[in-house]
């Protein structure tokens, strides 16, 4: 009887590794919230009036929610995926109209004394519906039409959340592309996106310097070198067994070196023009061979080179198209500007983390967070408290817990017997990874200040419930899979 219960009840078949990691993370999160929200000498962590007390209630609710999700039949997730999704869209549409303006964003709906952020739950609904779409039999993401359809499902809530002026929350939806990559989206798309980021960062960062020995702008000079190397690399990967990659590399090296040395020793001039001509020549060379051999990669790589150059010269324009404060953030992040206020948050959070040292100052002994030097320290900047009070040991342990959770999710996703389960698993993992990547990078001054919470750590019911919901739906799917396979 007992054995039967253990086998038939999915709550007993849930992956205990994930549950342990989850419990560890939310407990560590609660300790951090205590540290961040209390004043020195406070010992009252449990009363309803305090943030730590409230978080404890949210945590209790989450556990209830998780248990509930493990109990219900998994087919409902598949069945009602679209329903959830469209309901969510409607909520997202009406949110800006009924929401109060909080720091310029209209994304919080007040229900009595509790505020909810629908965007946190939209991630889960989108993951379900995308998983259902991609999980259909014979659905191939390498097919461009299918890909566009899937991307559409992702961009719809993204756009709606942007309308709530909650850019950070919207950007999270970009993490679905990691799952798309797993499900067969051409890697070239991911590579192109990464290349664009590299061009943008290098191009903007060095846009105000002159490369020594020339009269060329450093940023342009360096990006054009990178484009040449990328093109060589792409030719090597997509057109193996041809001499083109080698030729392009050595000729390019000769051309660039000659251009630079002329400028350095003879007369300083704008080397960039030579590089542009070289880029065009590379494209022409590839198209010429493409015409002969009739292979698509020739054209695509040629287009990549030319478009890259074009993107470089429009990067400034792209930056200008951002809002003033976002431009500022980009410049501050790239170390081009030191502006009071804009870099204040990051500077203070770096100070808080950096002052933690190896072992940290100890629970409730962090001065920077206690004395409110770090802004939003219970929510977006919660990792500062970990860094300051628990030091290098504590904070790297937290990062390793997240890594363990993510790798475990990949492992579990790969063992799903349904494409739906696998895709959903990757969605959950991608979203978690994106949150950790952006949030922790932000407090350490590595990624732009995009206001998104650190999963399980940041104070707030919506975020905690949103992640619990996502995670436990996946645990239920996994448990079902395990039961089917009699594992």
């Amino acid at each position: 009887m007992r054995d039967r219960l253990r086998h038939e009840n999915p709550a007993f078949r849930a992956d205990w590794v994930i549950i342990m990691l989850y419990l560890l993370l939310i407990c560590a999160g609660w300790v951090s919230i205590c540290g961040a929200s209390h004043e020195i000498g406070d010992t009252d962590f449990f009363s309803w009036g305090t943030r730590s007390g409230k978080q404890l209630v949210w945590m209790g609710c989450s556990l209830g929610l998780g248990l509930f999700l493990l109990m219900i039949d998994e087919k409902y997730f598949d069945l009602f995926a679209e329903v959830f999704y469209y309901l969510m869209l409607i909520v997202l549409i009406i949110t800006p109209f009924i929401a109060k303006d909080i720091k310029g964003s209209r994304s919080w709906i007040s229900l009595g004394s509790v505020s909810l952020q629908p965007a946190e739950f939209a991630k889960c609904a989108t993951a379900l519906v995308v998983a259902k779409l991609v999980g259909q039999y014979g659905f191939m993401l390498s097919d461009m039409r299918n890909l566009l359809k899937a991307v559409g499902f992702v961009l719809l809530p993204l756009g709606l959340i942007v309308m709530q002026k909650e850019t950070g929350g919207a950007l999270v939806f970009l993490s679905f592309f990691l799952m798309f990559y797993r499900e067969g989206m051409p890697g070239a798309i991911l590579f192109t996106a990464a290349a664009a980021v590299v061009y943008f960062v290098v191009g903007i960062r060095f846009s105000e310097e002159i490369f020594p020995g020339t009269s060329a702008v450093s940023g342009q000079f360096m990006v054009l070198l990178i484009i040449w190397l990328f093109v060589c690399g792409l030719v090597r990967v997509y057109l193996p067994h041809t001499p083109h990659a080698r030729r392009l590399f050595w000729t390019g090296l000769a051309v660039n070196a000659a251009a630079y040395l002329t400028s350095y020793f003879i007369k300083s001039y704008d080397v960039v023009w030579v590089q542009i001509v070289w880029t065009v020549l590379m494209a022409a060379y590839l198209i010429w061979h493409g015409l002969g051999e009739r292979l698509r990669p020739y054209y695509l790589i040629a287009a990549f080179g030319v478009c890259s150059a074009a993107f470089l010269f429009s990067a400034d324009f792209a930056l200008d198209s951002l809002a003033e404060h976002q431009q500022g953030r980009v410049r501050v992040l790239l170390g081009m500007e030191v502006k009071e206020g804009l870099d204040y948050n990051v500077r203070q959070s770096k100070i808080a983390i950096g002052s933690g040292g190896l072992e940290g100052k100890g629970f409730m002994n962090g001065t920077q967070t206690k004395l409110k030097y770090v802004p939003e320290q219970e929510t977006d900047f919660i990792f500062c408290t970990v860094g300051e009070e628990q030091g290098f040991i504590g904070s790297s342990l937290v990062l390793l817990l997240f890594l363990a959770l993510i790798l475990r999710l990949i492992w579990l996703a790969e063992r799903q017997d349904t494409a739906f389960g696998r895709v959903y698993g990757y969605c959950v993992m991608s979203i978690l990874l994106f949150h950790v990547f952006i949030n922790v990078g932000m407090v350490m001054g590595l990624t732009p200040v995009i206001g998104i919470p650190l999963p399980f750590f940041s104070y707030g019911g919506s975020s905690l419930w949103g992640f619990t919901l996502m995670l436990f739906i996946f645990l239920r799917l996994d448990a079902g899979c395990k039961m089917r396979r009699r594992l």
Partner: protein, 614 residues
């Protein structure tokens, strides 16, 4: 079975991305938290407000416990540039009594200081007197960014003993750099002169520290770790000087209108009973904001009132020096107390003539001291330097002579506990070899009567008197009698024996007694005491310097005194009466009516120094 598809290998790429991100982040944590100390320091400067708690400086009293130097509250105005919002500069300047130009200049000066931070309070004005402070405090709320800090200011009870007491002033950059423990911060005070400087460490105490936690709005949130790292200030120790202020007052009074110095020492302890230098200045003026201006003026004065002539003036000791020569001669066996030398109105030898006044001839030692016969001591030195039986060479004899002098406290700093002491000059063989190439006893003969190359400070002369009074030893003279809860340096309690034996000192005492009873300084006699003395009349480019040293009573001496009056003429003119009055005042605690009249007359006798090259 698991779903396998064409892209399942991409799981490794994705896992790799996740591992890569976390690895980069852990490396970043490493650089932030372990490789740099800057963040911890920034964090501390963010969160900690370090208040320095200033100790009160030790008080200074004289040997009779009358208060000489004490503290009075004064106030500093501090400014935190970052908080200076919407300041009504004009109103501010009016309140503190400066012009707007001053204000601008001061702000510029502050910003250029080393270690300036616009978040930290900077010293704007110092030593605001109480009345001004009260006015300013009323309006303080209008001047955002300004703050008041309570400090103390030195106050002097009398206008006496400026050279001994010294003063305090703001630390210079050099003072800050020189302090090994990094104790001083800009704006702190430090002893600049006198005992304020030489006993700085004892007087200043130790600054305390209070670390307060300050939140992002600048509000104080209590003590850091409940005050675990706070430190209470340790008040400075009080000093009791060995100076007798009544004696000091008399000495300064007698020096009025004269350049010179008076020093008195208690022979048995080496304690300095009075040390006056003329001209002097009023230490009460050397406080507050005007100090540096006044200091500059005094430094520019051609009469050099800042110079403590008692320890910094290097004078030819004149005939007071003859006592040392008698002691050397006796100890070395060149003369005996019975040895008599002829004196035909001076020293005549190999065509050399050095004059003397009329007295009987030949004359033995004690009367020679009593009448201050030049010839006697010329013969003594000549016979010593020319003695090839006892000394192998003239150089050896000269070195022997020099060693005697050094053992008596000449030629080097005695080590008095006041800054700036000079060492005087005692020539040695090497010096003459270099300067004169070929020399003999006759070329240096004038050093035997305290002229020529020999110089000494009045303190060294007084120390000789004290050594004779002690019959052969001295204790390094010092002005501090005791330090509260502390002990004096052992050099101020150690007896230094000279190279001459006690029995020879008895002869010197007899000679000095003779000088008072029937010699050059009969004016030094005080009824009821057996006074011993020796005059000095030192030739120099101008009018002779008048010198005297003496001690009393002859048995169990209580005071040794030296007087040196620049261009005062014969020793008996100024030196003897002044020395007598000092001894009388100290021995009797007051002056007899006749002496009082003498003091008044000496006080009003000013020497005209115009025309003398200084």
């Amino acid at each position: 079975m698991t779903t396998q598809d064409a892209f399942s290998n991409r799981r490794y790429v994705i896992g790799g991305i996740a591992i890569g991100i976390i690895t980069i982040y852990i490396i970043r944590l490493l650089t932030l938290q372990l490789l740099s100390d800057d963040y911890r320091k920034s964090a501390d400067s963010n969160a900690f407000r370090r208040d320095i708690l200033y100790p009160s400086r030790g008080l200074i009293t004289d040997r009779n416990d009358s208060l000489l130097v004490y503290n009075e509250p004064s106030y500093n105005i501090l400014v935190t540039m970052n908080d200076q919002i919407g300041l009504d500069t004009l109103a501010f300047c009016e309140t503190v009594g400066i012009t707007v130009d001053d204000y601008v200049a001061r702000c510029k000066q502050i910003k250029e200081q080393k270690g300036y931070s616009r978040f930290k309070p900077q010293l704007f004005m110092t030593q605001i007197p109480k009345e001004e402070f009260l006015l300013f405090r009323e309006k303080l709320f209008r001047f955002k960014g300004f703050d008041i800090e309570k400090r103390t200011q030195r106050r002097y009870a009398t206008n006496l003993a400026a050279h001994i007491l010294g003063d305090v002033g703001e630390v210079s950059e050099k003072d800050i750099a020189d302090a090994e423990d990094g104790y001083y911060k800009s704006g702190d005070f430090i002893g600049k002169l006198g005992v304020e400087r030489s006993y700085e460490k004892q007087l200043r105490g130790e600054k305390g520290l209070r670390i307060l936690l300050r939140d992002v709005h600048g509000r104080i949130k209590g003590h850091y770790r409940n005050g675990e790292f706070d430190k209470a200030p340790i008040p400075g120790k009080n000093l009791t000087l060995s100076i007798d202020m009544r004696l000091q007052a008399l000495a300064e009074r007698l020096l009025e209108g004269k350049l010179g110095a008076i020093v008195a020492i208690e022979p048995s302890t080496g304690e300095i009973l009075c040390m006056a230098s003329g001209p002097t200045y009023d230490p009460r003026l050397m406080t507050g904001r005007e100090r540096s201006e006044l200091h500059k003026q005094l430094m520019a004065d051609p009469m050099k009132p800042m110079l403590n002539r008692a320890i910094m003036g290097m004078y030819p000791p004149g005939s007071t020096f003859k006592i040392t020569q008698a002691l050397i001669g006796l100890q070395e066996g060149i003369i005996t107390p019975e040895t008599a030398f002829p004196c035909a109105r001076g020293f005549n030898y190999k065509g050399m003539h050095l004059g003397c006044h009329g007295h009987g001839s030949p004359i033995p030692l004690v009367p020679a001291i009593g009448t201050s016969c030049n010839a006697y001591f010329c013969w003594t030195l000549n016979n010593m330097l020319a003695n090839r039986k006892k000394y192998h060479s003239q150089d050896e004899a000269m070195t022997r002579w020099k060693d005697f002098m050094v053992s008596m406290g000449y030629g080097y700093r005695l080590g008095v506990d006041l800054p700036g002491e000079k060492r005087g000059m005692i020539p040695n063989a090497e010096y003459y070899n270099k300067r004169l190439k070929k020399w003999g006893p006759l070329s240096v003969i004038s050093i035997s009567i305290g002229q020529g190359e020999v110089t000494a400070t009045p303190l060294q002369i007084c120390n000789l008197a004290a050594t004779v009074a002690n019959r052969g030893y001295y204790i390094v003279p010092h002005v501090v009698h005791s330090i509260q809860n502390g002990t004096l340096d052992t050099i101020y309690t150690t007896k230094h024996y000279t190279m001459a034996e006690r029995r020879w000192y008895e002869v010197a005492v007899a000679g000095m007694r003779r000088a008072v009873t029937g010699g050059t300084c009969h004016g030094a006699a005080i009824p009821g005491y057996e006074v011993c003395g020796k005059t000095g009349t030192a030739q120099n480019r101008g009018h002779d310097h008048s010198a005297f040293m003496g001690f009393a009573p002859m048995e169990q001496p209580r005071i040794a005194v030296a007087v040196y009056i620049e261009n005062g003429g014969f020793g008996a003119t100024f030196g003897v009466p002044i020395g007598k009055l000092i001894m009388e005042q100290y021995l009797n605690g007051q002056l007899a009516p006749g002496s009082e009249a003498q003091a008044a007359s000496l006080q009003s006798r000013h020497i005209n120094y115009r025309g003398y090259e200084r």
